[in-house]
């Protein structure tokens, strides 16, 4: 965004030089991060406040706008399959971070490490000797009633935690307490990382002034740790995700890309002989280590939850063979159980010989009789929640049920539920939250907040990521990290020492994409998605170019245009593809073209309209986030965030539409340029290119067939040819070769035969041919595969075609040979596409199912 654009957007903002902290108004009796009870700014915030004040107010506003835009463009926490009409809580990043002083951080670091060590020790016991359960130090019914306790993992050789996170909040008196523990997956840290990367793009100057600690060293060490656990050159480390339908998918993809892990779903894996493999185009590849981002209980339908298909069948078997295969270990989520809270201080003493530095918020496990009695005696002060919640999404914690807000009947039913199933419930007493500064358009205001901190184990010790993710919480009703408004903020740790700022996190995608090696093989599913990404982006490009050529002709020539009918037929042909409709529009061409343009620009019901095509492109690109550079992704994301391309805002006049199309074509060109310049020439790139080439060959052939299968009068034909050359981006080439008006034979030479013209049908077919011979399952000997034979036959027919003969017309004005050739091309290309799908993508098709034998006699 240009500086000019930024300033024009904030017209009317208050004049520069005002003090954003002037009306801060922190509550004197409630702890605030920025201000002391008497209103003074705390020392570790002073540098930040001074510099923040010094930023002119219009520039501050510009930063906010840029931050919002970056969040949108990066698609943080975006649900890619959400209904576009239904906007869920948007993810926002506050311009102001939470800043912790070095002293405060030293305490938090120690406390979080202690809690992680404690969690790990509890885990080691409940999956090992179970001494704590026998003695009752940890109630056995608490553990056994939790679905996260996975009995097949009992007696694991070394049960322990690698990834740990904890949600913390300050009580209004300033003391810290733990709200929730996250020991299932490291997913949340992907969000924290993304927040930092995005926020740093608008606040790196402030970050430097505060001397903030960087995240990169933490992740570098984590990455080395993962690599060091695998005793093999070029190891394959997977990040196992539930897939794009999961709300944390963004975090999974981000973390995978950042750590250089291969993002996989359970369906991409296969267990053979107690080992886990990745299904690739070349066959099965051994997986060395799995960073688990799926629930343990859903990770193996054979031995855990029968309805959990998120991991490969037989994973537990593989873990029996290689106990360190999965990290965190399966079953680790048991230490998240909220009911453990009241037992932690004693457990800490017993297991670590230390006092628990940071205890939990007031919380009672309702499986215990005394706790139940306490909860019932103070029922209206309590919030009742499940001991196991199961979501790790930052801000997604459930609010729970408040007896105080219930009818008497409902409260009585809740009591009964507690008596029956108290082992799975906790009672909690809300104690309120401290505040931290939050940006608002009218200045900085205190907002109640909670924060999630992350720890990981490397070199045998736990380390805390020097950052985190803070959220504004609902102080009135929340007892946990329940953020109603999606307002997040970065967490800065002010370092007293000089911090080396030369290595930056600002472009992690590029840093890390260079770490990915082609030798790991291409997942069949990713190949499929790349193929369709190529098709959809080319389809969008072709449609935009055609519309642009059409509108330019109509604008410049008006009703006089002889190309009107050709233009109308070309546009109608695109839309009619989904319905197999016959074009029988008898209206005046200019009016018909207008209608067609509107439909192409706005309809979400038609499969081949621009909004539909771009939406499809965006969806498959979302599934490929780990393979696309940030820039390539942002190019596609910019369509998704622009109301024009979502079909919600039709530009007013022809010129504006042409401008929009120009921009759209330029954006796609940028995307294609990024692909051409940045993507390794591996099989993945080949599939993307095959998709694009097939689509382009198909679209151009259809256009030529629709417009020139039947001869028209000379003027119309000339006009139609000019239009076609323009749509095919070949008009300059034509003009450089021929100084006269186009005739069909010469245009066909350029658009069909000329394999040096990257827009010609011949060029596309030759490229597909080359790709297919280079793919892993291509025949290495004389016998060619089905798809290789098809492309060879097509290419040969095109190469042997004589343009003069193709252009000849019969007595009725129809071009017999022309029609035969192009019909053949148009009919063969979809079959070719199917053949490729069958050979390369079908590994992903079958679905897993369960069968049981039934007890008892047959019905």
């Amino acid at each position: 965004m240009s500086v000019l654009a930024m300033t024009t957007q904030v017209e009317g903002a208050p004049a520069a030089g005002d003090d954003p902290f002037q009306d801060y108004g922190a509550h004197a009796l409630r702890y605030d991060e920025l201000a002391t009870p008497d209103g003074a700014i705390r020392p570790h915030w002073r540098v930040f406040c001074d510099e923040f004040r010094a930023i002119p107010s219009d520039r501050r506003m510009a930063r906010v706008l840029r931050l919002n835009r970056l969040v949108r463009e990066n698609g943080i926490a975006e649900d890619i399959f959400a209904d576009a009409a239904q906007t869920a809580e948007p993810w926002r990043i506050d311009l102001l971070p939470v800043i912790f002083s070095a002293g405060e951080w030293a305490f938090l670091e120690r406390a979080v490490i202690q809690r992680a060590r404690l969690a790990s020790a509890i885990l080691a016991d409940v999956y090992g000797p179970q001494t704590l359960l026998r003695s009752g130090d940890a109630p056995p019914t608490l553990i056994f009633s939790d679905g996260a306790y996975l009995r097949p993992c009992l007696n694991a050789p070394d049960p322990s935690l690698d990834f740990y996170a904890v949600d913390l909040a300050r009580a209004p008196d300033g003391s810290w307490r733990a709200l929730d523990t996250h020991a299932e997956t490291p997913a949340g840290s992907g969000f924290a990382l993304a927040n930092r990367v995005v926020h740093a793009q608008v606040a790196s100057d402030l970050f430097r002034s505060v001397n903030g600690l960087r995240l990169a060293p933490f992740y570098q060490k984590l990455q080395s740790e993962l690599l060091s656990r695998v005793n093999r050159d070029d190891p394959l480390i997977a990040l196992l995700t539930p897939g794009p339908h999961h709300e944390d998918y963004f975090g999974h993809a981000y973390l995978a890309r950042y750590l250089g892990l291969v993002l996989m779903e359970g369906g991409d894996m296969r267990v053979v002989g107690g080992r886990v493999y990745m299904k690739t185009l070349e066959g099965l590849k051994l997986i060395d280590l799995i960073v688990r981002c799926v629930e343990g209980a859903s990770a193996d339908p054979l031995e855990f939850s029968p309805s959990g298909f998120l991991g490969p069948v037989g994973l537990m078997q593989a873990v029996r063979k290689s106990p360190r295969l999965v990290s965190n270990m399966l079953g680790s989520a048991i230490v998240e159980n909220r009911g453990l809270a009241q037992y932690l201080p004693a457990l800490c003493k017993k297991l670590l010989g230390e006092d628990l530095a940071l205890p939990d918020a007031p919380r009672w496990w309702l499986g215990d009789e005394a706790s139940r009695a306490h909860a019932f005696a103070n029922f209206n002060r309590m919030v009742i929640r499940r001991a196991r919640e199961g979501t790790g999404r930052p801000g997604g914690a459930e609010f729970g049920r408040s007896p105080a807000r219930m009818s008497q009947d409902a409260a009585a039913a809740l009591r009964d539920e507690i008596v029956l199933n108290g082992a799975t419930l906790v009672a909690e007493e809300p104690v309120g939250f401290a505040t931290t500064p939050s940006w608002t358009p009218t200045g900085v205001r205190p907002a109640p907040y909670a924060v999630r901190l992350f720890a990981a184990r490397f070199g045998g010790e736990y380390h805390v990521m020097p950052g985190g993710i803070a959220l504004t919480v609902d102080a009135a009703t929340g007892v946990s990290l329940s953020a109603a408004d999606g307002n997040t903020r970065d967490v800065w740790v002010a370092s007293p020492n000089e911090v080396n700022h030369h290595v930056t996190l600002m472009r992690p995608a590029i840093e890390v994409s260079s770490v990915q090696r082609s030798g790991k093989g291409l997942r069949s599913r990713a190949a499929d998605n790349l193929f369709w990404l190529g098709r959809y982006t080319e389809r969008a490009d072709g449609t935009m170019r055609l519309m642009r050529a059409a509108l330019t002709r109509m604008r410049d020539e008006g009703a006089e245009s002889r190309a009107g009918e050709a233009v109308r037929m070309a546009l109608a042909a695109i839309l009619d593809k989904d319905a197999g409709r016959k074009d029988d529009d008898k209206r005046e061409p200019l009016k018909a073209v207008e209608d067609l343009v509107v439909t192409l620009m706005t309809s979400r019901d038609r499969a081949y309209s621009l909004p539909s095509t771009l939406e499809s492109a965006h969806q498959v690109a979302s599934l490929l986030r780990d393979r696309l550079s940030t820039e390539a992704w942002r190019a596609l994301q910019s369509f998704e965030t622009n109301p024009v391309w979502r079909g919600d805002a039709m530009p007013a006049g022809v010129t504006d539409i042409i401008d929009a199309l120009d921009q759209g074509v330029a954006t796609l060109a940028a995307f294609n340029g990024m692909v051409a310049e940045n993507m390794t020439r591996n099989h993945g790139w080949r599939f993307l290119d095959i998709g694009r080439r097939l689509e382009r060959a198909s679209n151009l052939s259809e256009l030529l067939l629709a417009l020139f299968g039947q001869a028209h009068d000379d003027d119309s034909e000339t006009s139609g040819l000019l239009f076609t050359l323009e749509a095919a981006d070949s008009i300059i080439t034509f003009r450089s070769r021929y100084l006269f008006a186009p005739v069909l034979a010469l245009v066909l030479d350029l658009l069909l035969l000329d394999e040096t013209n990257p827009r010609s049908v011949g060029f596309q077919l030759a490229a597909v041919d080359a790709h297919l011979s280079a793919l892993p399952q291509a025949s290495q000997s004389g016998v060619q595969t089905e798809e290789q034979r098809m492309i060879l036959e097509l290419l040969t027919r095109v190469r042997l075609a004589k343009v003069a003969q193709l252009a000849q017309t019969g007595p009725d004005g129809s071009r017999g040979e022309f029609r035969a050739l192009f019909l053949h091309i148009v009919n063969t290309l979809p079959r070719l596409s199917e053949a490729i799908t069958r050979r390369y993508f079908s590994l992903t098709e079958d679905e897993l199912r369960r069968v049981y034998s039934r007890t008892g006699p047959r019905p």
Binding site: P140, D416, T855
Partner: protein, 289 residues
């Protein structure tokens, strides 16, 4: 009593299965009063891998992986098992049910092999309606096993045996409503009822000797796998009750496995890749020697 046991399961798929995994609980467990003289499982097609292990409840279990395309799968379990008649425990001399529940929910030390069966599980989860049904059998002060026998008899009287009424996923609350089902449903109801009172109850998977009507020969393959329950009291240890037949098993029940519910000890649980529709044929023969 010595039995020859044969349990044949044949899966037929409408489309080839590319890969299948099965977790099987077919080998009878060595339990007090029961000796497994021999036992084998024949699998066709031959599995690429077969791993025997002891599951978390102490049952013998096997995991099979079949890696070749197959349209049929035969799993045939055969063995010879000796079961001795049990001495009937004095159910009236057991602790009062409420005292037992209180003792188990109190502070440690705990016997985990008992406590784990007090907790809710997938198919046997305490609920108000189930608790209310079970509570009738447990008036104040009643010895726990006497209550268990009464509950067993009431289920036998109140519910109709109907193999078509339920499936694997039918909940206990649903069962209470429709009042019909099969042995595993009755077992789940009894277990959920006992657990909702804080009492330890477990699911027993096994076989039952069937008696053909007088004067008729035994029909081949007409027997069936069976399920019943086991309840714990400090005086007796675990004692079995069969709500489907209103009795306390002696030497006509063969035990395969113990679990919290059907899911822990399902005879064959498989996960398939491909396969289309499937048909299962089961033939069980329990022949006294």
């Amino acid at each position: 009593m010595i039995y020859d046991l044969s349990h044949k399961t044949l899966y037929r798929y409408s489309a080839p299965v590319a890969q299948s995994h099965h977790l099987i609980h077919l080998a009878p467990r060595a339990v007090p009063g029961q000796t497994v003289n021999r036992h084998t499982v024949i699998i066709d097609p031959a599995p690429a891998s077969s791993t025997d292990f002891t599951d978390a409840f102490g049952n013998p279990a096997t995991i099979l992986a079949i890696e070749q395309d197959h349209s049929e799968l035969l799993i045939h379990s055969r063995g010879q098992i000796e079961v001795r008649a049990k001495v009937k425990p004095d159910i009236g001399a057991t602790v009062s049910w409420a005292d037992l529940a209180r003792q188990l929910s109190g502070p440690g030390p705990h016997d985990l092999s008992v406590v784990q069966y007090v907790c809710a599980s997938r198919y046997a989860r305490p609920a108000p309606d189930v608790r209310d049904y079970a509570r009738v059998s447990f008036p104040q002060g009643r010895p726990v096993l006497e209550g268990a026998m009464d509950l067993t008899s009431r289920i036998y009287a109140d519910f109709k045996y109907d193999p078509r009424a339920t499936d694997v996923a039918t909940s206990v609350s649903e069962l209470l409503r429709i009042r019909r089902g099969v042995c595993q449903d009755f077992a789940h109801l009894a277990i959920a009822g006992l657990r909702s009172l804080g009492l330890p109850a477990r699911y027993v998977s096994g076989y039952l000797l069937t008696h053909p009507p007088a004067g008729q020969p035994r029909l081949q393959g007409a027997d069936a796998s069976h399920a019943w329950i086991s309840v714990w009291a400090p005086e007796t240890g675990w004692v079995d009750f069969d709500p489907t037949n209103n009795l306390m098993p002696s030497d006509e029940h063969i035990t395969i496995a113990y679990g919290r519910d059907y899911h822990d000890v399902s005879p064959i649980a498989g996960v398939l890749l491909g396969g289309g529709d499937h048909r299962i044929d089961v033939a069980v023969d329990v022949v006294p020697l």
